[in-house]
Symmetry: C2
Subunit: 184 residues, 2 copies
């Protein structure tokens, strides 16, 4: 059984997202490996967190690219984006809540780049008249992260079915909770 680095990091992200104080032992257990092996591949907690951040950002960046945010209607692009985040929702939940790394001044440029690309999508939607203009694209972006994390947590807690992930987030983010008049 070869070592599945990404699977270990995914398990770690999901655990740390809801219990940031988990020990290396708990993380190893959650990943289904021994503490020794965990330490062989990630020399210490700092290295683990760093790898977590690195993989999370890389995957998210790939998701953003695959969603082709510049193509077609903004709401369609947003739909593709959210659907794409599903496999990395655990990473997003972890990364968006735990900014203990960034505050060391390095303020990860990768994270800023992703923010910029998603914000640009919302701005494009505003300029095309699809999205409302009384709130900033940055807030929309932050709100998206928040909803993704909330959805990931709700699913993990068994409160919601996994298949509802995308419609839940997309429906709420696009239309809000208010009922809309059926006037297409």
């Amino acid at each position: 059984m070869s070592f599945d680095r990404d699977a270990v990091l995914r398990a770690a992200a999901e655990l740390l997202a809801r219990k940031a104080t988990a020990t290396q032992d708990e993380i190893a257990k959650a990943a289904g490996i021994s503490r020794a092996t965990l330490h062989r591949h990630f020399a210490g907690r700092d290295a683990l967190i760093r790898a977590l951040e690195e993989l999370g950002l890389r995957q998210l960046e790939q998701v953003v690219t695959d969603a082709r945010l510049d193509d077609g209607a903004a709401r369609e692009a947003l739909s593709r984006l959210i659907e794409g985040t599903r496999p990395v929702a655990g990473f997003i939940a972890f990364l968006s809540t735990e900014n203990q790394l960034f505050e060391e001044g390095e303020m990860n440029e990768g994270w800023e780049r992703i923010d910029a690309r998603i914000s640009a999508l919302f701005r494009r939607g505003q300029e095309s008249g699809e999205f409302r203009i009384d709130m900033s694209p940055i807030w929309f972006t932050e709100a998206l992260y928040g909803l993704v994390a909330a959805a990931a947590w709700a699913i993990q807690a068994g409160r919601t079915a996994p298949r509802d992930y995308t419609p839940m987030i997309l429906g709420l983010l696009l239309g809000g909770v208010e009922r809309r008049d059926p006037t297409p």
Copy 2:
């Protein structure tokens, strides 16, 4: 200068919300007191977290009560609720992300009670025809927590003005990002 228990807990919540691994020393520093004094009032980290949870839940419950969720239009009640959460946003951010306490089986009944009351508001809105019915009240509630946490974080990071707190959350949660036809 007398000891302001609530202020200390508020500072602790805001710090722990974004860095759950903060040491007692860092918490004390963030609260503007010494580690010795922190320990005099909260005997150990567990006691601190417990007090944090207790005060947070109590305050949030008070906010929910003050918002009179059963009165008037559901959207107005939601508006009052969100405005009321502003002073306790740091607590909500901490409590909604860190469930390390609940998983010890006690699954705080106070938290469940608050969830139930807020969910009831959304359900009432659905039944009155104000809110859409294709998503569950529980999801609306979780989403509210997520948006509150996202807003609190955005403000703390200086990305958004504090005065925009309520309109940001309310606007997004009620109407979503899509532009609505001006047809009242």
